[in-house]
């Protein structure tokens, strides 16, 4: 039966190649445009760390200019912490399972081979807990020990890509890396790791993960300045890095792993009593408004999905709707033209249901073809997006979920488009259409 319907479908499609082609093109263009923008949206709004996203919290302390407007939500508070506060929270007895403060710096890496030119590398300076907290996979070695977080130890962890560039992908643990005039011991090499978006820093979003990781103490010791957003509201008191570290400038991201609501309450209390204590010392002049937000809420607060993309998704969905309406119109015309053929089939004994199912089958076949062509168009569309935007390289691949969605949307769209015309045709009284023959 199926193969007979398939044969009928192809016969019918071939009989009217222009109309059939028009339908497929319309569907494919609609699907292609929508899937292009939707894939980018899907990847931008994806959960970068699904199994832990509700136990990892971004911490915000409202330590800012008392003359600023009052705080109403987390979005009004600085996304980053001062060095002073981050240090205190790391060293204190905060009721969290794990915590990590972090910021970005850049270094100049000098390859062992003198003939090779030095190059710039992005570094995340943080604590050893970073790797366990964020479930970072290691290819070789392991994170640095706890004592490296307290003492000034010259150790680094490399990304997989940097290890490939410098050591051809070999196990480089125990070897040294030269940066500036300093030598560092390599203690670990990461495996492939590219959370999208990079949730732990609201300013990096969709870029590549850092080239290497270094204990924060070491970076401070080498007076390496943060790159990225540094915000200050109070003049810096004191000279050099010393003064900068003691200042009210914010530039560190701070994360805590907290396993349940009870602990979250404790942690919030802890933050509040800390800020109250600090107020005695003349800091935190604003009403107390400390925030802790899990990963996905944090992504929302930071508007990680670009507004342009949201607008494009809506407009391309409307475009798809136009394409579907177009297809309904053509199907309607096409099935009206088929009236006498259908009447003949009905007269020969096919019941309404059989006619209905057979025609629906034809319509879905068109949808399937449109969907497949549409995936090809979406692929082209994503190449276009990749060439138009900088730093979208992690946002332009069609994953399985998207491929299945594309086909499902196409078939559903075509069935939706075909339902009315097919229903109307199946209802025909055969006699009236046979007479004139």
């Amino acid at each position: 039966m199926l193969s007979y319907y398939l044969k009928l479908a192809f016969k019918s499609m071939r009989r009217n190649p222009v109309l059939t082609g028009l339908m497929i093109v319309a569907l494919a263009l609609g699907i292609g445009a929508f899937m292009t923008t939707f894939t980018v949206y899907h990847l931008m709004s994806g959960n970068p760390i699904p199994h832990k996203s509700d136990v990892l919290y971004a911490i915000q302390l409202d330590n800012w200019d008392p003359n600023n407007p009052p705080t109403e939500s987390a979005a009004d508070v600085q996304a980053q912490l001062t060095y002073l506060d981050a240090q205190y929270l790391m060293r204190g007895d905060a009721p969290a399972d794990q915590q990590a403060a972090m910021y970005r710096i850049t270094v100049v890496i000098q390859p062992e081979d003198e003939a090779e030119a030095p190059f710039r590398g992005m570094v995340r300076t943080t604590y050893g807990t970073f790797f366990e907290m964020f479930d970072v996979p290691f290819l070789y070695g392991r994170p640095w020990n706890r004592d490296a977080d307290d003492a000034d130890r010259r150790v680094v962890v490399l990304s997989k890509a940097l290890n490939e560039r410098l050591f051809g992908g070999q196990d480089s643990v125990g070897r040294t890396l030269r940066m500036g005039d300093n030598l560092f011991e390599i203690v670990g090499v990461l495996d492939e790791w590219q959370p999208t978006p990079i949730f732990y820093d609201p300013h990096t979003r969709f870029s590549d993960v850092e080239d290497l990781f270094m204990p924060m103490n070491t970076a401070v010791d080498l007076t390496l300045q943060p790159v990225g957003m540094v915000n200050c509201w109070k003049p810096i008191d004191g000279d050099g890095l010393e003064g900068f570290l003691r200042s009210e400038c914010v530039w560190l991201q701070f994360w805590a792993e907290i396993h349940d609501a009870e602990q979250a309450r404790e942690y919030q209390d802890y933050l509040n009593s800390y800020t109250l204590e600090q107020r005695e010392l003349g800091r935190f002049p604003r009403p107390i408004n400390n925030f802790m937000n899990p990963v996905m809420e944090w992504m929302d607060i930071n508007n990680v999905v670009s507004t342009d993309n949201k607008v494009l998704v809506r407009l391309s969905a409307l475009f798809l709707l136009v394409c579907i309406l177009n297809t309904v119109g053509i199907l309607l015309a096409k099935f009206t033209g088929k009236s006498s053929e259908i009447a003949l089939r009905r007269a020969m004994g096919a019941d309404k249901k059989a006619v209905f199912v057979q025609n629906l089958f034809e319509v879905s076949t068109i949808g399937l073809v449109g969907g497949i062509v549409g995936i090809g168009m979406a692929w082209l569309g994503l190449r276009l997006v990749e060439s138009l935007y900088r730093g979208y390289q992690h946002l332009v691949h069609l994953d399985w979920a998207m491929l299945v969605t594309a086909i499902a949307v196409a078939v559903a769209a075509s069935i939706l488009a075909g339902l009315y015309p097919v229903w109307r045709t199946a209802r025909l009284a055969p006699a009236g259409y046979l007479k004139t023959q």
Partner: protein, 405 residues
């Protein structure tokens, strides 16, 4: 006119006509809103930065050796670059125009009431060649002298004794127009005032966005950063930019204790800065193009089909005395009626879509004239699309009426 028969024929094929009308309605809504967004972005990108974008380029370098002599390197490098053939001016610069990031600072006006009297601005920091290297015009006062240039450490928040400000910043600081020679302050109750010694016509700060309230609030302080990140801005004689750029890169790279990170023309910089807006313009234009294509195809397809369906009736009409032009006009008018119904619906849809986009994504309120212009365009599109099928209908011979199929 033959509205009567057209309408009665339309009511027989309600679904088909309604579908086309709906398509036209949504098309109008998308096209008006998309064109509006495109126009917005085009305006944004067309804003002049104030500087000479055509003949300038910049170089970012970063030193990595431990005992790197920043001050001496500045002197040497600038001297060498200025000696190159075709260089108009070269300066050290802290914030790169249109880079999206830079030094954002505030001036305090009244040291006694500091809280509500600050004005924010982007600080470029150049030496005495800054004005020439940027290619901006002083409209009042004087430029820095070489002796006024100082070095600024990362933590220095103390402003130097003199500053140049843009006309826009001068107006915001001193609305009475007497900014030249006035004092401004780096912090409340500051012991070291800064005097405005010069005002230049215009220069955007380094991160002008759609929502920047004051993109032209900028100032130039006579300072050089002591940081190991050293940025150069160079202006070449017309037509010499690329040559100077290549020579300067070689020159800077000769120092092996540092890395020349980026050497890039301001034109390229501007393209990169607005790349998201350029992308939005291209993607929206693409969607508009495809949409018009699909809608036109839909009109052609359905008209073609309905002509085929009515071959016999058309033949009969012709046999009864209708001229070719009557048949042609019938289909044109039919299309006009359908399009008009769609456009009336489309006006409402356009406004709703604009309202939704503006409420959720702050795209702004569409100007009224986008809608009538869009309507005229779609009327023409409909008439154009139906022309070929209508001419085919007009070509049906009257003799067809006499044949039985």
């Amino acid at each position: 006119m033959e509205f009567g028969p057209i309408l009665s024929a339309l009511t027989r094929n309600k679904a088909g006509a309604l579908l086309i009308a709906l398509q036209i309605a949504i098309t109008l809504a998308i096209v008006t809103n998309a064109v509006y967004i495109i126009k917005q972005r085009a305006d944004l990108m067309a804003r002049p930065s104030g500087m000479d974008e055509t003949n300038t380029f910049f170089a970012l370098t970063v030193a990595f050796a431990e005992n790197f002599d920043v001050k001496q390197t500045w002197q040497q490098d600038l001297e060498q670059i200025r000696a190159l053939d075709g260089v108009v001016a070269a300066t050290s610069i802290a914030s790169i125009p249109l880079s999206g990031a830079g030094w954002g600072e505030d001036f305090y006006l009244d040291p006694k009431h500091p809280s509500n009297e600050t004005v924010g601005f982007g600080n470029f920091m150049t030496d005495e060649h800054g004005i020439d290297a940027l290619g901006i015009q002083l409209v009042a006062g004087r430029n820095f002298s070489a002796e006024e240039i100082t070095y600024r450490g990362i933590n220095d928040t103390v402003y130097p004794p003199v500053v140049l400000v843009s006309q826009a910043l001068a107006n915001s600081l001193f609305p009475d127009g007497d900014a030249l020679g006035q004092l401004v302050y780096d912090e409340p109750n500051s012991p070291h005032p800064t005097r405005i010694v010069g005002i230049y016509e215009k220069m955007q700060h380094a991160w002008p966005t759609v929502r920047s309230p004051d993109p032209d609030h900028s100032a130039i302080m006579p300072q050089r950063s002591l940081d190991k990140q050293m940025n150069f801005l160079v202006r070449a004689e017309p037509g010499m930019r690329d040559q100077v750029m290549a020579e300067a890169e070689v020159l800077l790279a000769a120092n092996h204790n540092r890395l020349v990170r980026i050497v890039r023309s301001m034109e390229e910089m501007k393209r990169r800065y607005y790349s998201r807006d350029i992308a939005m313009v291209k993607l929206l234009s693409g969607v508009i193009g495809l949409l018009i294509f699909i809608t036109a195809l839909g009109i052609v397809g359905l008209a073609w089909f309905s002509v085929n369906q009515r071959r016999k009736q058309i033949g009969t009409r012709r046999a009864l005395g209708a001229r070719k032009i009557d048949i042609l006009r019938y289909f044109m008018v039919e299309n006009w009626v359908i399009t008009t119904i769609g456009l009336i619906l489309g006006v409402a849809l356009s406004l709703v879509l604009n309202y939704l986009l503006d409420t959720h994504f702050q795209t702004g309120k569409i100007e009224w004239y986008y809608i009538p212009v869009g309507m005229v365009f779609l009327w023409l599109l409909g008439q154009l699309a139906v022309l070929a099928p209508a001419r085919r209908a007009a070509g049906i011979p009257p003799a067809l009426a006499t044949r039985s199929v």
